[in-house]
């Protein structure tokens, strides 16, 4: 089998930046990713990426991809990693469709939306239940909806839906709402919004589409009639496919200043790591750093 110098896993801001650096270092490499852009593609308005006073997530991702494509980079899109194995001198990366080998890896697999883990959630995904208020919100015009979560992303979803829906239940499993005072006040002041604190979701009910959400508060269950459910309960790292590597209590891959992981030859960058602060510009910077570290590591190895 052909052995690459490097395989980059993930094509968000970290992975794409690593790829641009790898191309400029003339490394023989491959990118393997489920999608292009990762979470950046889902971002609304971005006003803190240097050089762009204002740009939308999809536009910034389009710019990233355009930059990457000028180097003719080989991108395997639509591939999900199912396993990584250390052979003698190389790592074997396996997806449902293919197997590749490389001397070093950079993991930039990012994060994904956390799921509720309740009955009905999987069944009604995209049938009224969604993890992206920005994308799917407009389909719930004039409807009654529930937003699940208590952080700023949940508040943001409520604010978006205030312009679209008829009635909004905000179901929060803690005693107080997120820390952004401005957002919190707008939400609690609205007559359209009913905030239900200290409540957890029990199940999602419906026929073809969502019809009801069952919640529990002080051990008492109640049923709310809704046509839409927006799940905004945070993110989890996409790090399950690599079990034998050091992670923190959140499941983030632990890296040092050089983006080295606990496994020599495996580097990681961006939101999948324990880097403090998750920002597009930080992920991009980390991606470049990981690539330069990987390049240096390769140069020092006595590979055949």
């Amino acid at each position: 089998m052909d052995t690459y110098d490097l395989i980059i896993i993930g094509a968000g801001p970290a992975g794409i930046t690593a790829a641009v650096y790898a191309a400029r270092k003339k490394m023989r490499f491959l990118m393997v990713s489920k999608d292009i852009g990762g979470q950046a593609a889902w971002s609304g308005d971005i006003e803190n990426y240097t050089g762009y006073q204002f740009i939308s997530g999809p536009e910034l991702v389009h710019k990233f991809e355009e930059h990457m494509r000028t180097y003719g980079i080989d991108v395997k899109e639509g591939e999900e990693i199912i396993g990584i194995q250390k052979l003698k001198d190389v790592f074997e990366v396996r997806t449902a469709k293919s197997v590749w080998q490389a001397k070093v890896l950079i993991i930039c697999s990012g994060k994904r939306s956390r799921e509720l883990g309740v009955p009905g959630e999987r069944e009604f995904r995209n049938r009224g239940l969604t993890y992206c208020a920005t994308c799917d919100g407009p389909l719930f015009s004039g409807k009654d909806v529930a937003v699940v979560g208590g952080g700023n992303s949940a508040l943001d979803a409520v604010l978006q839906m205030m312009r679209i829906a008829r009635k909004i239940y905000l179901i929060n499993n803690t005693a107080v709402l997120g820390e952004d005072a401005v957002m919190r006040e707008k939400v609690t002041a609205s007559a359209m919004v009913t905030v239900i604190n200290n409540a957890r979701v029990v199940s999602v009910l419906g026929d073809k589409m969502v019809r009801q959400i069952v919640i529990s508060r002080d051990a008492v269950q109640s049923v709310l009639d809704v046509q839409g459910i927006f799940v905004e309960i945070g993110l989890i790292p996409n790090s399950e496919f690599i079990p034998a590597i050091e992670k923190n209590h959140l499941g983030e891959i632990v890296v040092n200043k050089r983006n080295e992981t606990s496994v020599p030859g495996i580097f990681a960058a961006g939101d999948v790591t324990d880097v403090p602060e998750k920002q597009i510009i930080i992920a991009a910077g980390e991606g470049s750093k990981a690539c330069l570290s990987a390049f240096r590591y390769l140069a020092q190895q006595p590979f055949p």
């Binding site: 799917d136 389909l139 004039g142």
Partner: protein, 78 residues
């Protein structure tokens, strides 16, 4: 004869933006159905696809949910 291609989308969904860019890059003419402003179109999309996620493509009656490049290429013969 060119196929009749409709893209049901919202302006804020990233895969909608990407699927439309992909079609443009391949010189495919399509009708952009913005379901965020037109409830009738939204209802049409839901009844055709049996779900509420965007984007949905209707290629001569062939319904594709999401930015599934492989299926789109196959359906359009690209």
């Amino acid at each position: 004869m060119a196929k009749d291609v409709k893209v049901y989308s919202t302006p804020t969904c990233p895969y909608c933006v990407r699927v439309k860019q992909f079609l443009k890059d391949n010189n495919v003419v399509f009708q952009d159905m913005d379901v965020s402003v037109n409830q009738a179109m939204a209802a049409e999309m839901i009844s055709k696809s049996g779900q509420m996620g965007v984007p949905v493509l209707d290629i001569d009656g062939d319904i594709i949910v999401g930015f599934d490049k492989g299926k789109i290429q196959q359906s359009l013969g690209l």
